[in-house]
């Protein structure tokens, strides 16, 4: 990595922002073309989108609330990228974090908030870390590629989560341990106790909670960890060149496992915050697509923690405005998913953007990340 002299630092920052912003622009334009081709009105859609995201205080609150999980899952993927690991497992880690935090949140009645809430959050981190460590351990000791393992673990986690709240089966299967008995045939947990809920920042109708500060703190922590600590230096070295790192005496295996655990912990924290702050319970359908969104956010943010925060905010706005867009213009909210995929495509292939906007080629440009390591053969 080149040394950043102070006088070029500013233009470096500008350049780092240029490609993501142009990528966003290109994706919005392409999205508009898709809408026109399928008979929708892109102007109405985008104006509805903007209104929904920033039109009033409620919109801002929703946008910020939706930004929180994107920050954390984006960080989860970004941390792994720094070590050339590809974490597609944020969904599963998110679910495990949710389950662990709910398990603590619905129990231990009588604890004061300042003990119960941190305990539930930590439980979420631990759940995610355990789930994230598995692909790390398997990669180190068996060579199993983390892409396949994390994806399979997503399905396993979703099923495991489904079991914990399982209402019981007709063939005498016992209900899951977290199932709410008062919910009858519905598979869900009871609400977490008030002492484990993250309080709202403002009164209703502004639905945003203090979790936003935890997410920002997590981003600052990751920045400090990666760029200011010896461990972060080791992580980046392993990411650049595993063989050289091993030769220099860095514990490569340990670094890989720890990185995957940290990545999992961040996604787990996302699950914990979503649950303790917003949903207040777990039901099998929670989790969903957070993993793939995390990948896009991480790449859009150039895998830098501060970039991830900006990218997450953008995604929060896209998600926050989506329902208003659908309501006002009749354009299905799924178009947002297409736009997000296009953002990812454009940001991961700066050459496309350079070609469209006729930018000069930067000879020493580093790829956002390189994860195409092979499948773990000899």
């Amino acid at each position: 990595m080149a040394i950043a002299y102070p006088k070029v630092a500013f233009s470096r920052t500008l350049r780092a922002l240029l490609i993501p912003l142009l990528a966003l622009l290109a994706a919005l334009v392409t999205g508009a073309i898709v809408m026109i081709l399928s008979g929708d009105d892109p102007l109405a859609a985008y104006s509805g989108l903007f209104q929904g995201a920033f039109g009033d205080g409620k919109g801002w609150a929703r946008t910020i609330r939706k930004t929180i999980p994107f920050i954390l899952t984006g960080l989860s993927v970004a941390v792994a990228f720094k070590v050339s690991l590809f974490n597609i497992g944020a969904s599963g880690q998110f679910v495990m974090g949710t389950i662990f935090s709910v398990a603590v949140g619905i129990n231990f009645a009588g604890l004061p908030v300042f003990i119960h809430l941190p305990l539930a959050l930590i439980a979420g981190i631990v759940g995610g870390m355990l789930w994230g460590a598995i692909p790390g351990i398997l990669k180190v000791y068996t060579g199993a590629h983390e892409v396949i393992v994390t994806i399979m673990l997503n399905y396993v986690a979703a099923l495991f989560g489904g079991w914990t709240v399982y209402a019981g089966g007709t063939q005498g299967q016992t209900p899951g341990p977290l199932w709410d008995e008062t919910a009858g045939a519905i598979s869900e947990t009871p609400d977490v106790l008030a002492s484990a809920q993250i309080p709202w920042l403002f009164g209703p109708p502004y639905r945003v909670h203090y979790g936003v500060f935890i997410a920002v703190a997590a981003a600052l922590f990751v920045w400090w960890l990666i760029f200011k600590t010896p461990l972060g230096f080791e992580m980046r070295t392993v990411g650049h060149n595993m063989k050289a790192a091993a030769y220099a005496g860095i514990r490569v295996n340990f670094t890989i496992i720890l990185t995957m655990a940290i990545a999992g912990g961040l996604a787990g924290l996302a699950g914990a915050i979503e649950t303790l702050g917003l949903n207040h319970k777990f039901a099998p359908e929670f989790g969903g697509a957070v993993g793939f969104d995390g990948i896009t956010v991480a790449l859009l943010g150039q895998t830098h923690p501060l970039g991830v925060m900006l990218a997450a905010f953008m995604f929060g706005a896209l998600d926050g405005g989506a329902s208003k867009m659908q309501f006002e213009s009749g354009v299905p909210a799924d178009i947002i998913q297409i736009i997000q995929a296009l953002v990812l495509a454009f940001v991961a292939a700066p050459l496309i953007i350079r070609m469209i906007f006729r930018l000069r080629q930067q000879p020493l440009e580093e790829a956002a990340s390189t994860v195409s390591t092979s499948w773990g053969g000899s």
Binding site: V147, Y166, Q173, F292, I335, I338
Partner: protein, 355 residues
Amino acid sequence: MSAIAKLSTTSRMSRRAAISLVLALALVAMAVLVNKTPLGEHTWLRVLFGISALNFTLRATVPLVLGALSGILCERSGIINIGIEGMMLAGAFAGFVAKTSTNHWPLTVSLIFSVAVAVAVGGLMGAVHALFSIRFRMDQIISGTVIIILALGASSYLYNRDAIAEGKFSSIPVPGLSQIDVIGPVLFDNPPITYLALILVLVVHVALFYTRWGLRTRAVGEHPRAADSVGINVNRYRYVNTSLGGMLAGLAGAFLVLEAVGQFQEGMTAGRGFISLAAMIFGNWNPFGALGAAALFGYTQALQNELLLAGVTQVPRQFISMLPYVVTIVAVSGLVGRVRPPAAEGKVYETEGSA
């Protein structure tokens, strides 16, 4: 070891392939016993080896083996393809749209047309993946991820929930062979894409190991510089192979919509593309190895299904449903250094002197 020496050995049947062949034969033997003798009175044995378990295994194997063949074509030429899941989904959706808009055509014509559309769209996705990875030098794993997210988003956005596909492929018994006990109804009484998939395993095997195209493909995947120096157009081979791979994934999607289910559901590939990748790795990038691995994974899916239907166990259904995924993890973990991917996989090839 030199790349040339490896090239000449990779077509030989691996030990794992031999083991899966033995296992398959044992399975058939058990199936005959269970379905022809009083052993069939044991519920558990019926669950494990009954005709319906075997039928389901084959049905579950088809998309997996097609996906694995897709991966083999791409990766043998040096392009990693984790986008199979997305290409399958795109194929499935395209096939569905084609079918619903040709419902008024004669059934067979409409179905064949829909398969063609699915295959074409899959191939297009493959070409896009190749374009991203070769022309735009995008990281191949990220390019594959883009394909997946794009397919998920586009198929949900364009999906018309009121559309209904009328009719799907029905079985075509092979005259004579389908009369054989046990084996007949399982192997020789299937709809056309199933036969096609099994034939394609052989076709890809022969093409890869016994044709000039196959030798060149493998050379491009192992040592592109060497291939280039004898005048092979490396990137052209990669474009062609990745597009062909996309077509196979599209065919897998067509199978899901036009042969197995008959309708489209959002996200209906449900991880099959990724399990295909595991099958490809487990099968050591060989078509028959991939078939064996796909059959193994297919069998775990069948087992999951049969166990739930038979109600023989009190284990909660979620744990039973984990079977295919856990087996996949165990399979890719149990291969410490014993598989060998194509050497040049994942790397952009640039001719000497170019920027």
